[in-house]
Amino acid sequence: MRLPWPLFLLPPLLVSLLLFVVPQIAFLRSSLFRNVGYGQTGSTLTVENYARFFTDEFYQAALLRTAALSLIDAAVCLAVGFPIAYRLARSRSRWRSTWLTLLVASSLVTVVIKALGMMILLSANGPLNQAVLALRLVREPLKLLNNDVGVVLGLVHYTLPLVILILFSVLQTIPEDLEAAARTLGAAPWRAVGRVVLPLAVPGLVAASLMAFNLAMGAFTSTALLGGGKVLTLPVLIQRKVVLEVDYPFAATIAVVLLASGVLLNVLVLRMALRLRRGAPAGTAA
């Protein structure tokens, strides 16, 4: 007898709907009521929360800051992650699987631990500053905490292992002979990477950068800890609205704006990437 396999998908679908879609709808709904204080909401539908968000420069700046920090994180991750992933993908060393295991393990370490480690490392009298002071590279300790620099470092620390893993899996599917062919056709190694490997890795670059961007957009722990409450991104503001001001409707509003702007950017990037793509995907018959 043939098993009705599609039916097996129903339970996880229901669970997903319950735990994922329903709360989103609840958010969306609660953002449409007025806050009447003490965690209570009004009973008439209104868009004044959104009007407030988009007329107050403070929130616009927070939205821009969140997107900008996330973009910088994605860019840094690509720039740092690509060479590492490329080296790993082309490595024949017996240590390769060890490196990969370490990468996976490090990406599984909870963000709190990672952020605390970064705080020790980056603090005014931490090892990094002691080193640059001892080497007389700077006169005063570098300010690497409680500002944008600290937040970006924290975000990169958080998203880089995943970016490397995604890029690695894509780069591995690009046959090495393509680079060898480019070399025999007169391309120096970096030209071979630029004209052959990079274009073929576009799907991976897009996937990896979107993932880094999305994680950074929603990052709370590393931003809150390494920003020291001074770098106000949307996730940090949401927490403040809920915990300090008990303003659920406005917290929901920020969450909806955060979600919508994230989805919008993802769609835009994906559409651009699809237009860029030519020929057959890497790894298929050539």
Partner: protein, 353 residues
Amino acid sequence: MASVVLADVSKRFDGVAAVHDLSLEVRDGELLTLLGPSGCGKTTTLRMVAGLLQPERGRVLIGERDVTRVAPERRKVGMVFQDYALFPHLTVTENVAFGLRERAVPASERERRVREMLGLVRLEDQAAKFPHQLSGGQRQRVALARAVAYPPQVLLMDEPLGALDLKLRQAMQLEVARIQRTLRITTLYVTHDQEEALNLSDRIAVMDRGRLAQLGTGTEVYDRPATPFVADFLGRVNLIRGRVVGREGAWTVVRAEPHVFRIPGAVAVEGTEIVVGVRPERVRLIAGAEPAALALTGEVERSAFVGSLVRHYVRCAGDLVITAEDQDRKAAFAPGQRVVIEWDLDAVMTWSG
């Protein structure tokens, strides 16, 4: 155009010798085939000429220039890869133009050259397609056009027809030969297919476990193989191991237990271990004859009809099986029939064992 010289080249992988003290010259304009079973070091040799692998010892010269430490992009070689290695994100035109762009050939000259190359491989009407839209044979021709577009001094081909089916492979052999003659380009061609090698090559270099076993024209290598390995790899051969036990006039008597037979000429002194080889097409089977004192006899075990000829397998005493090929397909033998084995006197090949 230029010659290629390999001088005492060696390459190891993880301590195992892949190529050992190989010396070889590909003459200007010649098509030389590296022939051998997989793992004999022929692809390694080709990649060292391309610069994709570095030899541990020895030198590689292209057109009298020592390129041993020169990067592949500075060697002026064109290479066709086993799986073509076409760039999947580029069209046929862009693939062929790749090398011209890397060498900063002006756009107008580039276009002219690409058109010329696509004409050479008869793919003008596929210019705008992507590799995955082409058939295997077409991809092969794009790879060839790409390799020769910026005229290289040397064309390297690594089992370029390996992925094609038999009919297409035969057609492409003619095509490769035509293009190579048209361009008169020095070519090093790697294959494990002896028929392909005989079909295409000016000369054949037979490789055996990282060493050059023999270098010569097709007829030289086939008719006068330097080693039993070469005889066995190019065509079929009956090999009999034995020891010289004496002379009998103009003959040498060989004992290969339990057989004693004679071969023409004074081959070696008494007591020498030798290997005697005879090609199956030079072996004749005589039924019903009285065996001479020093002749091989056996029983026909099986006769196989393989199209252009009939191949008889004759089992002799002592686990020796002799193959005979009959192109006339006239003589028929019943399985188990006793036959006397004869061969043309000039067909006997001997090597020291």
